[in-house]
Symmetry: C2
């Protein structure tokens, strides 16, 4: 159940058998949600963190004019809200983008990990810092990358993050989301996203169709996006 989490962690550090056991013991029951369900509303007091097993989840904020900004997409093996362990409630909401399978990890179990497994606690701390690094990269994309480069960058990011979870190759990956959701990640309108997708396809770089991203030319796509994977911390240093 936590295999994809372990793949994600072990891409960054050694996790001992003892630590793996502590993680397995911390996991609660499986819950299934359909698509488009806000299962963690902003402001709700939380007593557990959510680990995504299957599906796609988004953190988001809505503005008063009805516009939505997604601040991160979560792939299997990600905690959707490991940060709620220290924040206690979230300033944003979390929704399923596709039908999703999740498990809850009670905060009291995470607290026990911080008290009995300091290295594993640092690895979990690292995981929330990795989310922050992804946030910063989105700040750079939204602030300074053109719509074309920004979209290309997101496709590169998801290719790598899904790849670590065994869910993408260099040829592509399933991404069963609408252009509206893509627009909500990219700070664009759906119409603008549609135009950008056309240009990426016509340039022979990437195709997004029928819930699938088909990568036609990964090196050129990465060059266009100025994609530097350093922010995903795929080095293996002791945390």
């Amino acid at each position: 159940m936590i295999d994809r989490l372990l793949m994600k962690l072990r891409a960054r550090d050694e996790i001992s058998a003892d630590e793996e056991e502590a993680l397995r013991a911390a996991v609660g029951e499986i819950v299934r949600h359909p698509a488009d369900v806000t299962f963690i509303p902003a402001g709700k007091l939380l007593h557990s963190s959510t680990l995504l097993i299957e599906g796609l989840i988004a953190r988001y904020k809505d503005l008063s004019n009805g516009e939505r900004q997604i601040t991160e997409l979560h792939v299997p093996g990600d905690f959707a809200d490991l940060h709620s362990f220290t924040l206690k409630f979230l300033d944003h909401s979390i929704m399923t983008v596709t039908p999703s399978v999740i498990v809850q990890v009670p905060h009291e179990k995470l607290q026990a990990i911080t008290e009995n497994h300091p290295h594993l606690a640092r690895v979990l701390w690292f995981m929330t810092n990795l989310d922050a690094a992804i946030h910063r990269e989105w700040v750079v994309s939204l602030g300074r990358r053109s719509a074309l480069k920004r979209t290309a960058h997101l496709f590169c990011e998801l290719q790598l993050r899904l790849g670590i979870a065994g869910l993408a190759t260099e040829r592509g990956y399933a991404l069963p989301i609408t252009q509206t959701v893509l627009a909500e990640c990219l700070g664009l309108t759906s119409v603008h996203v549609n135009r950008v997708l056309k240009e990426l396809r016509e340039r022979g770089l990437v195709e997004f169709r029928s819930g699938r991203v088909t990568i036609l030319d990964l090196p050129t796509l990465r060059r266009l996006a100025e994609f530097d994977p350093a922010y995903l911390y795929l080095d293996k240093r002791p945390r």
Copy 2:
């Protein structure tokens, strides 16, 4: 030396005398930097984290076309790179925006805190999650807020963050930065920032002049920005 850090922490949780002592013992020597110095370049292996005592510091990334995006501004009492404790190197650079006084906190001392003071370790973990919350709010601003609202939002954020450190009132605060730096935070051009500042002044909301932000009407400024301070987690819950 760590008084502003303690003010920031105690606005969010109880810090015991014992924990305060552990923090004081972790702090190394004072270093002074002039303005505009990149003292932590991206990719450099780090063995200590930097606490800002006086001044203003920015995390940033440069793109190949020479454009810069600042991803967070740090005020006194902030760690500029507490996240480097688990990341080991940064995917972005850190520079002084104004002349700054910093102290180094060796990672081995932080590691000892995670092993001997689990509650204090959770508070420090929380601090990096607070940075991530600020990143998310900037994602929302850059993705969905107009240039006017986005600028208003940044002024509201800094008023509150500097206020916690005793460096702002509801009337305003010192912000000795250029319009270029402001533009690099806001994903705008300097010319655009200049126009927005004029509009904010003409609306009687806020004035940015000679390195000072003078707040003329805080409630209306906050309403314009849709500023909800929930993301700064000024509740006092045990972490």
